[in-house]
């Protein structure tokens, strides 16, 4: 086996040093009734070349670009990723190192994460950001736990237009703790109804997502004011980080913690993971943050350097009183995001975000013109909801066969919204592809009407 370097001679001489006769003897401290007597029942080994064939075969059973044209986002977005990023991210000095516990020989990772923290904070308009979390759902959950810890209150109000799978994650984490999650209903225009907030006491946080699950941009000014009126943390979240290349950032609305998903920033879809959980806050709360943080410092000669810092918040020192149990996070994904933000720059991210918005607006207008209902009239970024006529499933299946994925049905999450689909357009979709989608929809639509 080419990953195992020992020769028979090596094994023999090392066993002699150890004082064991056979490799089995090495396990003498494992009681006999704990030892496995049979061989593991696993497939026989493949050569590298057999593995290539096997994996390529499986890879072909997946519907992906460029063959398939996706008009689907819902928390995972197809964006162009420059070859320079994939190439740099493959540098084994980054890939094959551990968490930078020994800063002198990990300055590459440490400076890169420090730069990520800075760019993430700038994107969100906040003062500090963490080194990374698992994904948007866990970032939001940990942000709410942070608000609970700081305020000493035990209830959070969560918009029903936060990604349904994020809300499910919150409930899973909160279940044993007894913290109360109150869901806020939505209004006819596709934004959060804050009416119930007034009735709630003991409120640690008010969380909304913007753009929300329907793609609508929330009135963050109003949500922030309402949260602060109640003495609660204002926690805006997001699933599409690229939106803040164009939209006013959460910090400008007075966010206490901004959090969400950074997958859009140069990270492949990869069937939903790994992704990038982002959390940012202001300096006054930085010692309460969950997760890793990199800070700038100096070495013995006064040269600039970077270290993992504020470790006293963390589990290996604070044990059960830690601000989080997170240890391994998604560092390499944070690096990808930093490379992506650096490649775009202020000029590029603006232009790219604008393209996403304008293309989605184009598709929206074409669908409207073809007689489809756009039920929510709030402005959107690159996603929006369309109401298709009853019996649309057949059209959906027909379009899938033409290798077009016309959005995601949201009725499993919102049973009251039968035939409602969430569509997404990023810079990867061309006008021609959008026109083709509309044609495909209209042909079937006229048939359905007949």
């Amino acid at each position: 086996m080419h990953y195992l370097p020992h020769t028979a001679e090596d094994i023999g001489s090392m066993l002699r040093v150890v004082g064991a006769d056979t490799l089995d003897d090495l396990f003498s401290t494992i009681p006999d009734d704990c030892r496995l007597k049979a061989d593991l029942d696993l497939p026989d080994p493949l050569t590298e070349w057999e593995l290539n064939n096997h994996m390529e075969g499986l890879s072909c059973q997946m519907a992906v670009a460029p063959e398939y044209k996706l008009f689907m986002g819902a928390g995972s977005y197809e964006h162009f990723i420059p070859a320079s990023i994939s190439y740099l991210l493959g540098r084994s000095e980054f890939v094959t190192s551990y968490t930078p516990y020994q800063p002198e020989m990990s300055q590459g990772t440490l400076q890169a994460v420090y730069e990520y923290q800075t760019l993430a904070a700038r994107l969100l308009g906040m003062e500090v950001a963490t080194a990374s979390h698992y994904d948007g759902a866990t970032a939001l959950t940990e942000s709410l736990l942070m608000a609970i810890r700081i305020t000493g209150r035990k209830r959070v109000a969560v918009s029903s237009l936060i990604h349904p799978l994020y809300r499910k994650t919150i409930r899973t984490y909160f279940e044993p703790s007894g913290y109360d999650v109150v869901e806020l209903p939505y209004l006819e225009n596709g934004t959060t109804d804050l009416g119930r907030v007034d009735e709630l006491d003991d409120l640690a946080a008010v969380a909304v997502q913007s753009p929300n699950f329907f793609g609508c941009i929330e009135d963050l000014q109003k949500v922030g004011e309402k949260a602060h009126e109640k003495g609660a943390f204002f926690v805006p979240s997001f699933t599409e980080a690229l939106a803040y290349g164009l939209l006013k950032n959460p910090g400008s609305y007075g966010a206490d913690i901004a959090c969400g998903e950074g997958q859009s920033l140069g990270i492949p879809l990869s069937y939903g993971g790994p992704a990038l959980g982002m959390i940012a806050t202001n300096k006054k709360y930085m010692r309460k943050l969950p997760g890793r943080l990199v800070g700038q410092t100096k070495d013995l000669d006064g040269r600039r350097g970077f270290v993992l810092t504020l470790a006293t918040r963390e589990q290996h020192i604070r044990r059960e009183k830690a601000t989080s149990n997170i240890c391994t996070n998604n560092s390499l994904c944070a690096l990808a995001a930093a490379m992506y933000m650096a490649s775009l720059g202020r000029t590029g991210i603006r232009e790219l975000a604008r393209q996403n918005h304008d293309k989605a607006e184009y598709l929206k207008s074409q669908l409207k013109a073809s007689g489809f209902n756009i039920p929510f009239d709030r402005p959107t970024f690159n996603e929006f909801v369309v109401e298709f006529p009853p019996g649309f499933e057949k059209t959906y299946e027909r379009l899938l066969k033409k290798k077009i994925v016309p959005g995601l049905s949201i009725s499993p999450f919102y049973p009251e919204l039968a035939n409602h689909y969430l569509l997404c357009v990023t810079e990867t979709r061309s006008k021609e592809e959008m026109d083709e989608l509309v044609r495909g929809l209209t042909i079937d639509n006229s048939k359905l009407r007949d």
Binding site: I11, A65, S97, L269, K298, A322, Q355
Partner: protein
């Protein structure tokens, strides 16, 4: 030593991203705008983030230079105890980047995701076989989230039986994340001490186990690198009081094909794919922390579950007793598939060999260095061995000094000051992928350093000398944090 491995080469200084570049540059091939502009309401429009404008060359040089300041497993031996820094096969990186996997959207219909679902389904099966358990979930994103998942499963199992318990037993040789994972579940960790052999005795467990205790979180092999020999008896005690046994499986690399935790009393355990199953650690993740359970706990596993019917794979959300979701989608698929490739290329025999060689290498280092460094528990170890700096105390040299000096010799230091049960701990885990020559060089380096400690202690106190930077002021970093530029 003939020649030191560590040397100084030409590496370049590099400023912070925003200290370079020029407004108007861009390192991204912007797509053509093929639709009419449609301005957004100015009320909602921001100014755009204050990012530096850099060219593609600026970005490429920046990260290439940064990467050269890092030491990775591909650079040299990285015997970080408890972290299983084994070789990360390159073919696995290739497979993960195949367009069908890297470009797959998680919400595609099952019929269009058969390849990914099959990989996940089979990986679950392989992991349950390796651990001797009955079912697995791949959803947890890392070891600590696996621990949390395990605790949530324990909680849900107790609740389904109408029992609410408030405590959990955590030995002093458990992983550092265990108490905080338990606390997230509302459990109060009850610490128990390992005995003079470095393992847990059944008696101490029996003293604290009661009907208000949900179970035990045991790391096996433990963080001293020792097999918990009394596991069967301990499991009996815990089970007899209605508790469950959780095993932190981060150290599974010692016992693949040798012992199956599911057959020796463990009810639930997590695995770290980024340790035992060769996926790269990425300088701090992404990892993957699947959880394996016995049959009784299966109904509580996170949703969706992957099911197979007549050769087709599907996601099943309909599990009323499930604890729910640990993250938005299915876990770190990109990591899982590397572990899948690893298991497929290794096969059962080589996985067992991997554990045997990992244990052989650790015992070899232990024997070769035990006259040089203080060895608190002189017994056969598993995949890692723990020394201390006790012998160097008269020279006023600490574990930290020796660790830093190892860098000059071209090695990544071992894990230091952990586990806490050994003062000044030096925890060495060579893994099976290091050759005898590299291990011998490491041993020689350690001996040379211990010699330097006697004759030139300042060389150690000032170390490292050959890295990009010298020792860093961590105190000021924490007192006056500067977390963003």
């Amino acid at each position: 030593m003939t020649e030191l491995m560590g040397t100084t080469g030409l590496i370049l200084n590099e400023p912070l991203l925003w200290e370079k570049g020029k407004k108007g540059r861009c390192g991204f091939s912007l797509p053509k705008q093929d639709v009419e502009p449609s301005p957004l309401d100015p009320e909602l429009t921001g100014e755009g983030p204050d990012f530096p404008d850099l060219s593609e060359v600026d970005v490429v040089r920046h990260y290439t230079r940064l990467s050269q300041w890092n030491f990775g497993l591909d650079t040299g031996m990285y015997p970080l105890g408890s972290c299983t820094m084994k070789y990360n096969p390159k073919t696995n990186e290739r497979q993960a980047s195949l367009p069908g996997f890297s470009g797959a959207h998680p919400l595609l219909p099952d019929t269009l995701s058969q390849g990914a679902l099959r990989i996940m389904f089979e990986l679950e099966q392989y992991l349950t076989e390796i651990t001797g358990m009955d079912a697995a979930t791949l959803q947890p994103a890392a070891g600590a989230q696996g621990e949390l998942t395990g605790m949530l499963l324990v909680y849900a199992w107790h609740q389904s039986r109408g029992s609410r318990r408030s405590k959990i037993i955590v030995p002093d040789t458990a992983h550092g994340t265990n108490p905080s994972s338990a606390a997230l579940c509302g459990y109060r960790p009850v610490a128990v001490k390992s005995n003079d052999k470095g393992i847990l005795s059944a008696e101490v467990v029996s003293e604290v186990m009661d009907e208000d205790t949900a179970g035990i979180m045991i790391t096996n092999p433990n963080t001293l690198g020792l097999f918990e020999e009394n596991i069967l008896e301990i499991a009996d005690i815990v089970h007899s009081m209605g508790g469950l046994v959780y095993c932190d499986g981060a150290n599974m690399n010692a016992v693949m094909g040798v012992a199956q935790m599911g057959k020796i009393g463990v009810d639930v355990m997590q695995l770290n794919l980024h340790k035992t199953f060769s996926t790269p650690h990425g300088g701090g993740g992404p990892g993957s922390g699947p959880v394996c359970v016995k049959k009784d706990l299966e109904p509580f596993l996170p949703v969706p579950r992957i099911v197979q019917k007549e050769g087709r794979y599907a996601l099943d959300e309909n599990r009323p007793d499930s604890i729910g979701k640990l993250q938005a989608f299915y876990g770190n698929f990109g990591v899982m598939l590397k572990a899948y490739c690893y298991i497929r290329t290794m096969g059962p025999e080589n996985l067992k060999k991997a554990s045997q060689f990992a244990v052989l290498n650790a015992n070899y280092i232990k024997e070769m260095l035990k006259d040089t460094l203080h060895l608190p528990f002189d017994r056969p170890c598993m995949h890692e061995c723990v020394f201390s700096d006790k012998n160097q105390t008269p020279d006023h040299i600490t574990t930290l000094d020796m660790a830093k000096r190892l860098m000059d010799y071209g090695f990544h230091p071992p894990t230091i000051y952990f586990p806490l049960v050994v003062q000044g701990a030096i925890m060495v885990e060579p893994t099976e992928t290091e050759s005898k020559e590299d291990i011998d060089r490491y041993i020689e380096a350690f001996k040379a350093i211990v010699d330097e400690a006697k004759h030139d202690p300042d060389l150690l106190r000032q170390a490292p000398h050959k890295c990009k930077v010298r020792r860093l002021d961590e105190t000021t970093a924490a007192r006056k944090p500067c977390l963003a530029g």
